[in-house]
């Protein structure tokens, strides 16, 4: 793959007050995409949302016994692809078992992964040596 045009690496404490910061980075990146022909405002919102949901997910699945724990978010922008990786140090979960929402009887929680899947092109969650990685890809047309 070609080298990335932009790479942003952020490490935050597992605290929700940093969600705005992380989401804002996504929104700003959407505005830097010179060749993107789609709806830029919609993409800006979507990246804000996806980064927010993915970071919340990592905070939730982080290790409760270690309040000093951190979440690392790595964003790579390539010519035709945006790649987001969110690393957590918790127990992890099985992405395949996350149920689709019941639209007839909506619940107050559990929509995060559904939103990420709906708005992005590829979502995987894998165990690495000492952490879990939620990898999200959006193809840019």
């Amino acid at each position: 793959m070609c080298p990335s045009v932009i790479q942003v690496d952020v490490i935050i404490p597992t605290q929700t007050k940093y969600l705005d910061l992380i989401g804002s980075i996504g929104e700003r990146i959407a505005k830097e995409l010179d060749n993107f022909t789609g709806d830029r405002e919609a993409l800006a919102y979507q990246l804000n949302l996806v980064l927010t949901e993915a970071t919340v997910n990592a905070i939730k699945h982080g290790n409760d016994n270690h309040p000093q724990d951190t979440v690392r978010i790595s964003i790579h922008l390539f010519e035709q692809e945006l790649n987001i990786k969110v690393y957590d140090h918790g127990q992890g979960f099985d992405l395949a078992t996350v149920p689709a929402p019941d639209f007839e009887h909506p619940k107050e929680s559990g929509m995060g992964i559904f939103l990420i899947r709906s708005l992005m092109d590829s979502v995987t969650y894998t165990r690495q040596q000492d952490c879990n990685v939620l990898e999200i890809i959006k193809y840019l047309k």
Binding site: G23, N48, V56, P101, K107, E108, F114
Partner: protein, 112 residues
């Protein structure tokens, strides 16, 4: 969270003076709505004109308010939703669950 509550006729209009509702402040919104309902408010309109971003936990907080007031035979509505925020309601099909008005005046006029 910066919230403003006013009474228009018999309706409690809750204006959210925040640009962003996410997992950091949605718990506070949920709690505030629950307290309003416990106090006996029967008719709530949440005004979202200032909100330019909502995440799944924010939608959940509004859904909680909606469910809890309906359980007490009350009414819950949303007004002045910005376009991108509206797209979240559409994606989650919650636009079919909530009573939604373009404008606060419409909400007050229709609901009274």
């Amino acid at each position: 969270m910066n919230l403003n509550l006013e009474k228009i006729s018999d309706i409690s209009v809750l204006t959210i003076n925040e640009e962003r509702i996410d997992a950091h402040n949605s718990g506070e919104l949920k709690e505030y709505l629950l307290q309003m309902i416990e106090r006996g408010e029967k008719h709530i309109v949440v005004q979202l004109a200032h909100v330019r971003f909502i995440d799944s936990s924010g939608l959940g907080a509004l859904l909680s308010g909606n469910k809890n007031i309906i359980a007490k035979s009350g009414k819950f509505a949303l007004s002045n939703i910005q376009q991108q925020v509206m797209s979240m309601f559409e994606l989650t099909r919650l636009n079919r669950v909530f009573e939604i008005y373009t404008d606060l005046n419409d909400a007050v006029k229709t609901e009274t």
